[in-house]
């Protein structure tokens, strides 16, 4: 059973609170009517299925109900990072140790997040 860091609740929670929702970063074509049948079929059904680093969409179903992304190794099941919608992963198949350039901006983002609400 996974232990998953929810980037919105900002703490680790048990897998029982989450649902996996397939591959992350699948954008719906901007103009579906302009898509060929082939392109539409690809969008609907064709997914990466890597052995190794994979980006997944999950939802914190029993919790904050927010969707977010997980970078996870599909063999070891190690979770390398979780990140909010709209953000890009640091760990990718190309950069299994993390993209060097983005480390700084990720840190900056964290500071921004912590400011949050002025209580």
């Amino acid at each position: 059973m996974f232990l998953i860091y929810c980037p919105y609740c900002e703490e680790h929670r048990e897998e029982e609170e989450f649902h996996p929702k397939g591959q992350a970063h699948i954008a719906r074509p901007a103009d579906p009517e302009a898509c060929s049948d082939e392109e539409w079929g690809d969008y609907l059904f064709f997914r990466d299925n890597p052995r190794g680093i994979h980006h997944e969409l999950w939802v914190h179903a029993v919790g904050c109900r927010k969707f977010f992304n997980i970078t996870r190794n599909t063999v070891s099941y190690e979770i390398l990072e979780t990140y909010r919608m709209g953000e890009q992963p640091r760990f990718t198949a190309e950069y299994p140790e993390g993209k060097p350039a983005e480390k700084k901006s990720a840190a900056a983002k964290e500071v921004a997040q912590q400011e949050g609400v002025k209580a």
């Binding site: 919105y8 900002e10 048990e14 029982e16 919790g63 904050c64 949050g116 209580a119």
Partner: protein
């Protein structure tokens, strides 16, 4: 409140103005499963705080924080998974998600609160949803309350991980609920109406070895 907001949202007081019989979500459970008496050996005590006012607020934190402060006299909790309360402890606001909070106030206050919040919010879009009939709040206390929770939820309820002032939505048995810890001795569980009987039966079953008693 501006005239426009009045046409934007349906403001609606669901509570009758005259006295009519009301039933908490646990009415059937009390009837059907009974209420074991609280006795000397009871190491867990359950008490329902029924008929309270429950509101869900959804929107931007900064705007809402100001409105809530203005109306309730205290602000939104600043961190995830925490709650703020007024001095009496009867009114609380709990973080549910980055744009969602649960407000619990004494029964009957919720509609006035909703109206005043709407006024304070002006044109800012915020959803306020009255869910007072859809859920109820129970309290668990006693030396074995924490162990009973450990039987039921995978969330860590150790004081280190769950200090006073914390509140989370989590898995409980095969349902989910909101679990909060307003004071050192007391745990609060917010149950959804339709799951209330299942959860009540679960809690009685899990609490049997602690001679659980139900107050009221």
């Amino acid at each position: 409140m501006s005239e426009q907001t009045a046409t934007w949202y349906n403001l609606y007081d669901a509570r009758p103005q005259v006295e009519v019989p009301a039933e908490s979500p646990l009415a059937w459970s009390y009837h059907h499963s009974g209420r074991p008496a609280v006795g000397e050996k009871s190491r867990v005590v359950l008490r329902e705080r029924d008929m309270a006012g429950h509101l869900i607020l959804r929107g931007g934190a900064i705007v809402l924080d100001e409105a809530v402060r203005q109306v309730l006299g205290f602000g939104l909790p600043g961190r995830p998974n925490t709650l703020t309360r007024d001095e009496s402890g009867e009114r609380s606001v709990q973080w549910l998600s980055p744009d969602e909070w649960l407000v619990i106030v004494p029964g009957g206050e919720e509609f006035a609160l909703e109206k005043r919040l709407r006024e304070a919010l002006g044109d800012a879009h915020t959803a306020i949803v009255n869910v007072s009939g859809g859920q109820t709040l129970i309290e668990l206390s006693g030396e074995k309350a924490r162990e009973l929770l450990m039987k039921s939820t995978p969330y860590d309820v150790h004081p280190e991980a769950f200090p006073v002032g914390k509140g989370v939505t989590t898995v409980f048995a095969k349902a989910n609920l909101i679990l909060r810890r307003p004071t050192e001795e007391r745990w609060e569980l917010v149950l959804r109406r339709s799951f209330a009987d299942y959860l009540y039966r679960w809690i009685l079953d899990a609490g049997a070895e602690y001679a659980i008693g139900v107050e009221g």
